[in-house]
Structures are given as C-alpha cells and as structure tokens.
Symmetry: C2
Subunit: 200 residues, 2 copies
Amino acid sequence: MFNYPAGQGPRFKFKRKEITSKQKTQYGSRGMSFEEMINQSNAYYLNRQLAVIHKKPTPVQIVKVDYPKRSAARITEAYFRQASTTDYNGVYLGRYIDFETKETRNKTSFPLSNLHDHQIEHMKLCFQQGGIVFLLIYFRVHDAIYLIPYPLLENFLQKNKKQSIPYSFIQAHAYACPQGKFPISVDYLSALDAYLEEAK
Amino acid sequence: MFNYPAGQGPRFKFKRKEITSKQKTQYGSRGMSFEEMINQSNAYYLNRQLAVIHKKPTPVQIVKVDYPKRSAARITEAYFRQASTTDYNGVYLGRYIDFETKETRNKTSFPLSNLHDHQIEHMKLCFQQGGIVFLLIYFRVHDAIYLIPYPLLENFLQKNKKQSIPYSFIQAHAYACPQGKFPISVDYLSALDAYLEEAK
C-alpha cells in the first residue's frame, strides 16, 4: 500500500481521462472506480472459490416498456430508486456477508451523511441475524481502504453525536485493506480475516 | 393447504381481474403472483426478526438517462439483462441463504428449461461455500409449493438426462411449504427447518 504525503492530493488526480484500458491493467487499480476495484476483487475471490459475493443490481422503477417486433423489450421510461439495503452481499466460510462501500475525497474524516439511515438499519438487522456486516471506506486522497465492522460503527454512532467519523479514529480502530495489482486490487477479505480472528 | 382435484384447473383461473386489493387481503394469497407471495413472507420474517431475505432488483442495462432541471433523473432507454445469479438471498440463523423461485402450470413435472445453467452454477458455488441453497417451485395447478434443497437437485440432474423433474419425485423427496393467510402466505422457512433437521 502506497500513501501520498498529506496534501499532495490523490494519485488519480492527473491525466485520468487519458488512461487507456491497456494502461489500466498495467497500473492495477489506478484509474478504476472503487466499485470496479471491488467487483474485480469479487471476480478473483469467485474464481479462486474463496467466496461468492456479488453487487446487487441498481434498483430501477420501470414505468414504460416497448415490445418491438423481433427485438428485445425496450424500457422507455424508468427512474432510479433509492436502495433499501446495502451494495454487496454473499457467502464466505459458510457465513452471510453484507457490506456497503463508500468513497470520500475528505482527508480528515468520513462524512456520515454518505450513509443512509435505512442502510444502517439493514446492517443492524443482518448483524442481529448473525451475519458478518461491515463498511468499506475508500479515502481517495490517502489511497487507503478501511474495513469498519458493524459493531465498531454502531459503537461510534452511539457514543458520538458527530456528523463524521475522524480519519484518526478509523486508522486506530478499523482494519486496513491491502491493495494490490490486477487481478486483486483490494484484498478486503484479508482485512476481514484479521477482524474475525480478533473477534473470536 | 387445499388442492383442487386433478383436471379442475387452478384456483386462480377465474375472475382474476376482478379481484380487488381488499379481497386480496381477505383471501390471503389468492390472486397474488408467486413473487408477491414470497415478498410478503419475507416482510413477515423481517418484522418478526426471523430472517433478513430480500429479492434482488431486476438487472437492467441503462443506455440513456435524461437529467431534467428540477426533477429526478429519467432513464429513457434501457434493456432487461439476464440475471446472473438467483432471485433471493439473505441471512437466517447466521447462515447464508440463497434461492431461486419458479412457477409452473405443468401438472406432472417441472420443466428444467425454466432453470438456466448460470443459475445452477451460481447455486453450486454458493453451496460449495457452505451456503444453504434451494429452489422453491410453485405448482399452480396443484396449489402446492415445494422446497428442493440444492443437493437433491444436483443429485437428480446427475442421475437423469430428463428435461423435467416429475411431480411425483418432488412429492416424494422435496419439502412441502405450508401455505397460510396474510401476513404469511408461504412459510418456506418451516420447510427449510424440516430439511435442516433431517440433514443434521
């Protein structure tokens, strides 16, 4: 994992538009969105039979559909709906895994406005059912990704009236996800292993 | 559970369009689609904190989006994509649950053409990771719902070159799901309990 010195800005800041798909592969996760990084890691985990974890499709409210002759049904009017759950779920070591991914350009904290109440509620319900629930936060400026287990998040929310989680708190208590090159850009399961080992 | 005598047809056949929402509640699952029945059961399980199980959103390939001023983004061109996984997943007793739902009007068998190869592959992968995986089949003509655990399905597929699973095989080996009235139309978790008890 490589961190730019504070204040020097994100490594993706320059020439982002010029990055070609060949270069993308070459430079690992450089130029990829956080979602693409996670999806790539999930494909790796799936191929190695380490876990089955998928992103849920974007929820869409379909209003109008055309059925042209001899071609595929075409949706002509639809709207984005707010997701009622989290982005990802699946199975790892026989356990239910559920997590939300968030990205921030903030240097000093993670703004809690990024996390919706119904998402926290969903995380709580899954945790109560015995699922393994966490939040993955990508601090783009620091090029650092942290896994925050749900109990840590809940604890912070109960004890603090703050609008954000300080980066220093996350560094001290959350689990850093190792970043690598293709085919695994974010090895978040290794951070999860560290958490599960400690939580035993 | 109430079965019409063979040949008398489905109980939903007549006057389906005249059913009002009030009558729907009154008559429990009558007039509901199988998906609505399962979603209602999931809402019941969620409220009682018995399980957290959701239907995944329909996967849609979004091609064009309008962003009108002062109103919500509007999708003006999109297409249905084939689901790469199953319809439902979630957590029950700390375990990962994954299942596909299918409905048939066939009286004597479940046509396997209803089940896509990539769905079977996904079920296999989840099962190998220790998930609880099954198929829920609604035989509308018999008004009967069966839970087929993945190992039973795999066993059938390996030993048979058939295009369908005979209803008699399902009656003999699968687990019948009790049907009730609002708020729980299909108690598939009780069929799952029976399977898990036997599988111990």
